[in-house]
Amino acid sequence: MTFLHFINCVGLASAPYFLTYKYAGLADYNVFWKYLQTVFLYLFVQFSKMMVLATFFPDMDDSKFNVLIEFLKITVDFGDLIGLYVAMTQIAGKCEIKYLVAGVGWASAELIMTKFFPLWSGARGAEFDWKYIQISLDSNITLVQYISTALLIYLYNRNDTTRYTRIIIFLIALCCYRPLIAEILIHTVGLGSWSLIFCKALFTGFIGLIGLSLFYQTGGSFLKSSR
């Protein structure tokens, strides 16, 4: 709509990232270099995913919605999980730091790569569309999503969580197939853009909460930020 609208959207999209980095305790641990490494790892993983997709699913322009093909395509997103795992193994330090850095790094790389360009090209135009506010809100959800995914992977790799392994694997799979579930919802229920955002937020919040309570019960504690 105007430049101010663009600023609004970018602010809405990126402020939570900044706040998480700054106030969830990361800033105190000098992890910026690790954070950058995660971003580069993200780029590498996305590139590999694209290569795999281009090799095995060449007819991407097929507009018909096919659950099986979509399922196979999204299975490639397991690359993200592996990437997150590798990122966490690279980070030495307290357990909380590990998953936070990996999650925030992954999500912010995605924010820069996939959200900024549509905002730059669209939100400054003369016409108004709620789409750009929705994109920004969606990036906030993505942040929570990746942090909880990283948390779940971290929990999975711990030795003392074997009795929860099934739940954790189920939740990880849910995280991974989140886009597929959203697609199915769009096609069957006919969700509008706002209700889709709302459902995503509910879904992500649900997974995040369960992950956190598992973490809590296995004796994790939260970082005390110094502010």
Binding site: T20, F128, L209
Partner: protein, 564 residues
């Protein structure tokens, strides 16, 4: 506790349903529509007509908005609300532009509205752009939304404040190139000419001396919106009649037993709606000295028949529903003249077929700049001529209207009229009832398929003068027909004087209307406030995450315990 949870579930599901219901509104940021501009043209002595500009970039209002909200806005109006009075009010209140929503099919009263508008709007000029758009579900949605918009109506101060923050506005943008005057190089209209050569072909000297009759029709149309004027009756039907007559007569000319001692020249003329300019140029060319291709001697012409609107019947009074055919002349034919003979023949044939026939004599008004009928061009050159038409008066508003679509044509009447003219031509040529009866009852009869298919082809596209140049597909089709059925067919460029032209046409007949959804400036500040408070909440949540989560966790585990 369990009941509480269930309540919460219902709340969540309820809010999801509310969200699902929300997306049915207009949410597209921009949308494009095809629009058609009102005709724009100039006549000599600096008289300008029609809509004089074409670009729009303004917020939209509907006709129901308060008058003070209309100035410098784009006013959306439905045809049913559009009257001449309303139009005058709009222009006097400085409306920025007008877009009229036209239905796909007109009712009788809508036809009358359009015709009454055409009678005035096309003969005066208006500075603002006036466009027409075809009715669609989407444009109606926009209309209803803008119409319900409170900010353009009386409301309380608080309502105005709220609306100034959250209301949806619609910016209408038409961003086409500047209007350009069409010159000779841009648009090259052509007259099409073809001959059926009679007489003894073996003796060329003899053939030269036999007389010629001309059958002509102009092929352009005229109406309120340039690109919506298909002109099916006026003068698509005349063109179809000419094509069918040439087809029928050509078979008589191809047989040496039936070849008559008479030449027939078929002529399709351009720019008939602009004072029969195409015919004027053709006549000028014929009388010029020197040899040119296809030139004929005007002295050889017995008479000329102009076909103008034969596609339906005019109701001339309460008693007479079918006006039949009128023969318009500028000077009544006298006995002994060839045209008199043809008049009598046509009268007899019409009487036999029980069709009303009337001779209408109207002197040429030399004081007026505008000629009434096409035959007056011939009469001015001292060639006996007549116009055959179902119209009683040249002032009939049906002659220049964009309501003249294919449903305006009565195919039966068109066929009947063509048949009458065909019969009387044969009767006139052979002067023998037996021959005529034989001809008419043989397989050389008028073909319904031929007439219908040509009618559809001609009606399919707008034919306003500025749209048809020498490479137009329709012209190519006409020319192919001329080549097939006639001899010496050719297309002649209609030249327009560069200085002081007799009429000036303009381009940009069609345009793309882009509708943008816009918000008031205050909305951005409002949104900025919302965003910053949201970010503030997130800040609080992150810094107090341990407390927040501890609280949630206690709640969750306690509810788990209870339910167990």
């Amino acid at each position: 506790m369990l009941g509480d949870l269930r309540k919460q579930m219902f709340l969540i599901i309820g809010s999801i349903l509310v969200f699902i219901g929300y997306h049915g509104r207009i949410v597209n940021a921009s949308e494009e529509f095809q629009v058609y501009r009102m005709q724009q043209y100039d006549l000599p002595f600096g008289t300008h007509f029609g809509s004089r500009s074409n670009q729009i970039s303004m917020e939209a209002r509907t006709i129901n908005s308060k008058p003070s909200f209309i100035s410098r806005r784009c006013v959306l109006i439905k045809l049913d609300d559009f009257t001449l009075e309303r139009y005058r009010i709009l222009t006097s209140q400085y409306a920025g532009s007008i877009i009229v929503i036209l239905p796909a099919n007109y009712t009788e009263s809508q036809r009358q509205t359009i015709k009454s508008l055409e009678a005035h709007l096309l003969h005066e000029s208006v500075k603002i752009p006036v466009y027409f758009i075809l009715e669609s579900a989407r444009i109606n949605e926009y209309y209803d939304y803008i119409d319900n918009d409170k900010s353009s109506q009386d409301s309380s101060a608080f309502q105005v404040l709220v609306d100034s923050i959250i209301s949806d506005g619609f910016q209408f943008v038409i961003n086409s190139p500047n209007i350009k005057q069409l010159t000779q190089s841009d648009f090259q209209a052509v007259n099409l000419q073809g001959k059926l050569i009679g007489g003894d072909q073996s003796d060329p000297n003899k053939a030269k001396r036999i007389p010629t009759i001309i059958i002509t029709a102009h092929y352009d149309a005229f109406g309120l919106a340039t690109s919506m004027s298909n002109g099916c009756d006026s003068n698509g039907s005349g063109v179809v009649a000419l094509l069918e007559l040439s087809r029928l007569l050509s078979s008589l000319y191809s047989n040496s037993k039936t070849i008559p001692p008479l030449n027939i020249l078929f002529l399709l003329t351009a720019e008939g709606k602009f004072n029969y300019y195409g015919l004027k140029k053709w006549l000028e060319e014929q009388s010029e000295a020197g040899e040119a291709v296809g030139k004929i001697d005007l002295d050889d012409i017995q008479f000329a028949i102009c076909l103008d609107s034969l596609g339906k019947s005019t109701q001339i009074s309460d008693d007479v529903e079918d006006g039949g055919i009128f023969m318009h002349v500028s000077r009544p034919p006298k006995e002994g003249q060839a045209s008199f003979e043809f008049l009598k023949t046509l009268e007899t044939v019409a009487n036999k077929a029980n069709v009303r026939f009337e001779l209408n004599h109207k002197k040429i008004n030399l004081a007026s700049d505008v000629l009434a009928w096409e035959h007056e061009r011939f009469s001015l050159s001292k060639i006996p001529a007549m116009t055959l038409s179902h119209f009683q008066s040249h002032k009939d508003s049906d002659r220049n209207t964009m309501t003249d679509k294919i449903d305006n044509i009565d195919r039966k009447v068109l066929m009947r009229n063509i048949k009458l003219i065909y019969q009387s031509l044969i009767q006139y040529i052979y002067k023998n009832d037996d021959v005529t009866n034989y001809m008419v009852n043989s397989d050389l009869d008028i073909s319904g398929d031929f007439v219908s298919s040509w009618m559809e082809k001609i009606c399919f596209q707008p034919r306003t003068a500025s749209l048809i140049n020498k490479n137009h597909p329709l012209i190519n089709l006409f020319f192919a027909h001329f080549n097939r059925y006639m001899q010496e067919s050719l297309r002649q460029l209609v030249k327009i004087q560069a200085k002081e032209p007799e009429f000036v046409l303009y381009n940009e007949e069609e345009a793309t209307l882009v509708i943008y959804n816009v918000k008031p400036a205050a909305f951005d500040f409002f949104l900025a406030m919302m965003v910053s408070s949201y970010v503030g909440l997130i800040y609080l949540a992150i810094t107090n995450f341990d407390k927040l989560f501890g609280f949630l966790n206690r709640k969750l585990s306690s509810s788990k315990l209870k339910s167990n």
